[in-house]
C-alpha cells in the first residue's frame, strides 16, 4: 500500500495507523494508546483513502490495511476535519492551545463549558483494560457526558498506589484535578480525602 506517496508494507490485520507509525509516518491521535483497544472517538486520526478510484474518509486507528490501498494523511479534507476538531476541543479544553497552534489553529470560534476534558476515555479505558480496576467511567450522555471516578472502587484504596491514569491524560486534567479541585459534580476530593484517612 501507499501512505503519503511512500510504499509501505504491513501485515494483514494491522490498522492503517499501525502501518504508518511503523513506517515512520506520523498520524496524530488523541484517544489512541498502544496498550488499548482502539476506540475511534477523537476522529483526529481520520485519513483519506482511495481504492478503485473512489476516495473515502476513514479513521486510521480502526481501519485495517488492504492490498493496494492509497492513503493520504494530510489531504485538504483531512486538514479541514482536524482543524475543526481542534476548534471543538479548544472550546472545552483551552489547555490544548499550544497543541492547536501546531496545527495552525490560533483560536476557536466556539464556546462550550470549560471542563479541560476531551472525553478521549484514555483514563477510563486504561484503568479498565490495563489495570483491571474499573475505577473510572463515563457518566451522562451527549454534551452532558463526563468522566467520573467510581466511589466504591476508589475508596477501596486501589487508586492510591496506582495513579497511572495521570500519565495518559492528554490535557492533564486528571492529575491536576484529582490532586486539587474536584470533577464536575463528582466529589473526587472527598473520595481522595476519605482514602487518605484510611
Amino acid at each position: 500500500m501507499t501512505i503519503d506517496g511512500k510504499e509501505v508494507e504491513a501485515e494483514e490485520g494491522k490498522t492503517i495507523l499501525e502501518a504508518a507509525r511503523s513506517a515512520g509516518i506520523h498520524i496524530p491521535t488523541f484517544c489512541y494508546h498502544e496498550k488499548l483497544t482502539p476506540y475511534g472517538a477523537c476522529r483526529f486520526c481520520t485519513v483519506e483513502i482511495s481504492k478503485k478510484g473512489k476516495s473515502r474518509l476513514v479513521t486510521s486507528c480502526v481501519y485495517n490495511v488492504e492490498d493496494g490501498l492509497v492513503v493520504q494523511t494530510n489531504s485538504p479534507k483531512v486538514i479541514k476535519i482536524r482543524k475543526m476538531l481542534l476548534e471543538f476541543m479548544l472550546a472545552s479544553a483551552p489547555v490544548l492551545a499550544e497543541v492547536a497552534k501546531q496545527y495552525g489553529v490560533e483560536k476557536s470560534r466556539f464556546k462550550s463549558e470549560v471542563t479541560q476534558c476531551i472525553l478521549c476515555g484514555l483514563c477510563a479505558r486504561y484503568c479498565a483494560e490495563v489495570k483491571g480496576a474499573n475505577a473510572i467511567t463515563f457518566v451522562g450522555r451527549g454534551v452532558k457526558r463526563r468522566v467520573a471516578f467510581v466511589d466504591e472502587v476508589v475508596s477501596s484504596g486501589v487508586c492510591m498506589d496506582c495513579r497511572q491514569c495521570f500519565g495518559v491524560c492528554p490535557t492533564g486534567k486528571i492529575p491536576r484535578e484529582t490532586d486539587g479541585a474536584s470533577f464536575e459534580g463528582i466529589t473526587v476530593q472527598d473520595v481522595l480525602s476519605r482514602m487518605n484517612r484510611k
Binding site: 482502539p38 472517538a41 476522529r43 485495517n64 479541514k80 454534551v143 457526558r145
Partner: protein
Amino acid sequence: MAKLRSPADLEKKREQIVSKRDPSKPCITICSGTGCHALGSDKLHEAIVTEISKNGLRRKVDVRRTGCHGFCERGPVVVIFPDETCYLGMKPADASEVISKTFVEKQLVERLLYKDGSGASVALEGEIPFYKHQTRTVFGNNRLIDPKSIDDYLAVGGYSALAKALLQMSPEQVLEQVKRANLRGRGGGGFPAGVKWETTRNAPGDTKYVIVNADEGDPGAFMDRSLLEGNPHVVLEGLIIGAYAIGSHEGFVYVRQEYPLAVSNLTAALGQARDYGLLGKNILGSGFDFDVTIHRGAGAFVSGESSALMTAIEGMVGEPRPKYVRTAVSGIWERPSNLNNVETWANVPLIINRGADWFTGVGTAGSKGTKIFALVGKVNNTGLVEVPMGMSLRDIIYKIGGGIRSGRRFKAVQTGGPSGGCLPESLLDLHVDFDELTGAGSMMGSGGMIVMDEDTCMVDIARYFTNFLADESCGKCIPCRAGIEQMLEVLERICAGKGEKGDIDLLEEISDVVRDASLCALGQTAPNPVMSTIRYFRDEYVAHIEQKRCPARVCKALVSYFIDPVKCSACGICLRNCPADAISGGKNLVHIIDQQKCIKCNTCFEICPTRFSAVLRISGEPVPAAPPLGTEVARKKGKQE
C-alpha cells in the same frame, strides 16, 4: 394446547378456528391501538359489551378489540362487520344508540360517520378517502385481528408462509426469494435485506443471531409501534423465516421500554407461538429450532443504530462501535448478527406466500412494495398510511391526508426523522421512494412524515431537530457531540435575532465535518435537518440574520404583538386572558399592549375573535405607535352585533 407438529396440523387447526366463525355474523371491532386507547377505547369496549347484553345480542354479535387501524386522529375507530361500517370518534355514551340502531332498527348513526369535504357522509371504512387511496398489504390485518389472539392470526392465514418456507423450500430458496423481491430495509438506510441475510448466512461461525429492531424513536413516527402492537405474529413469522434462511437459532427483539403495549402483546405472542410449537425445537416437524428473547431498550435513540443496539443487547451501554466490519459479520458477541426493522420483517411472510414477482409488481424501479408512513403535522387526516412506493408526496398529503389544516398553505414536509430533511412545495410531485428522497437531500428513514404549513419557521424546525440530536447523541465521538452542540448554538443565536453574517457558512462548515468525521450514522446524518433547510429555505435564514425578521412569525425574539386601533372593539377578551397583564384598556377604549411587559405568548393573537382580528404579529419592522391611552374605539360594542 397440543403442539402443531406438521403443516397438516397447522392447517387442521386453522380449519377448526375458521369453521367456528361465521363471516356473515356481525362483529364489532374496536381499535385498541395506543392512539384509540388514549382516546378511551377501553371504556368504549365495556359500554359496547354492556349494550349488547342489554339488547340480548350476546350470541348474535361478536366484539373484538383489534390493533391500530391507522386513523388515530379520529379515534376511537369502530368498524362493524360484515358491512364494514365505520364510526369515528365514538364515545361510550354513543354505544346504546349505535347498538340499537345497527341491530334493532338497521339504521346508520349519521353523526358518527366520516363527512367528506362537501359534508356528505361516508359509511364504509374502505370508502373514506384516508383509507381509499392506501394499499394496506402489510398493515391491513391489524384491523381484523385481536393482537393477543394467535387464533385470530391463524384465521387470516397466519404462519402459512412459515410452513411453506420450512417444509417446501430450502434456506437458499427462501433467501433467493427475498433477494429477488429486492426488499429494502424499512428502518432507515434502505439496504437490501436479502443481501444482508446472505452476508450473515455466509459469515463464518456456527452461532448466528437474527434481530428485530423495534427501537423506533423519530419524533412523530409510530408505524413500527403500531405494527408490533397490532400484529406481533406477522413480525415473528417473518423473523423465524429469516432465521431459517440465515441458519440462526436464536433471535432477539430489541423493543423500547416506552412501548408497553408492544412489549406485552409481543410477550403474549411469543408464549402462544411456543405453546403451538411455532417456536422452540423442531418447528412444525421441520427439524428447525428457533427461539426469541425480548430485550427492552432503556431509552436511547442511538441504540437504534445497529452496532449500538448490539452492544446494548450484550448488556453494555448502547454506544456504537468504531469498527469497519459489518454487524452482519460480527455483531452480538462478535457473532454474525442480522438486524432488520419491524416493518421489514413483516414484509417477509407476504413475499414467501405471494412470491417475489408479486412483490416487485408494486413500487418503483429501485424501491419495491409498499411503505407505511406516519403522516402527522398540519394535515387534516393524520395517522398511519400505507402506500405503494412511488406515490407522490402530493397524493399522500392531499388525497390521503386531506390537505392542509384550516385552509393554510403547505410549506414543507419533513421525512426521515432527525436524520432526514425538509422538502419544499416545489418537490410535492416527487415520487416517494428510497432514492428519490435521498437525492432530494432527505431520506426515507423509518417513515416519519411531518407536514408543515406557512406558520412554520424553517430555522426553528432545524433548531428543533438539532436540539433533539444534541440530547440523543451518545457523546462518544467529538464531531457528533461537539459539532451538534455548536450547530445548535448557532441556530439558537439566529432564532434569537442574534445571528451574524457568516453564520450560514459556519453552519455549512460544521455540517461538513460532522457528516464526514462522525463515528456512526446518527452523527453522519445529523446535519441533514440544517443542510436541507439551508438548501430549500435559505431566504428564511437570511431574513433572520440580516433583517432580524422571522417570516413565519414564530421566533419569539423577532416577533412583536400590536393591537390595531381601527379594528379593536374593546371586547376585553385579550385583556382578561393576557398572562402578563401587558394589555390595558377598558369599556369602549382601544386596548393597548405594553411592549415591555409582553412575553410574546401568542395568547392575544389566538384569542382575538376572528370577526375582529385586531391583534397583529409583526416581525422585522418597528411596532407602530400605539394611540394614547383612553382612545375610544371606532366600532362601538353592540352597534355591529
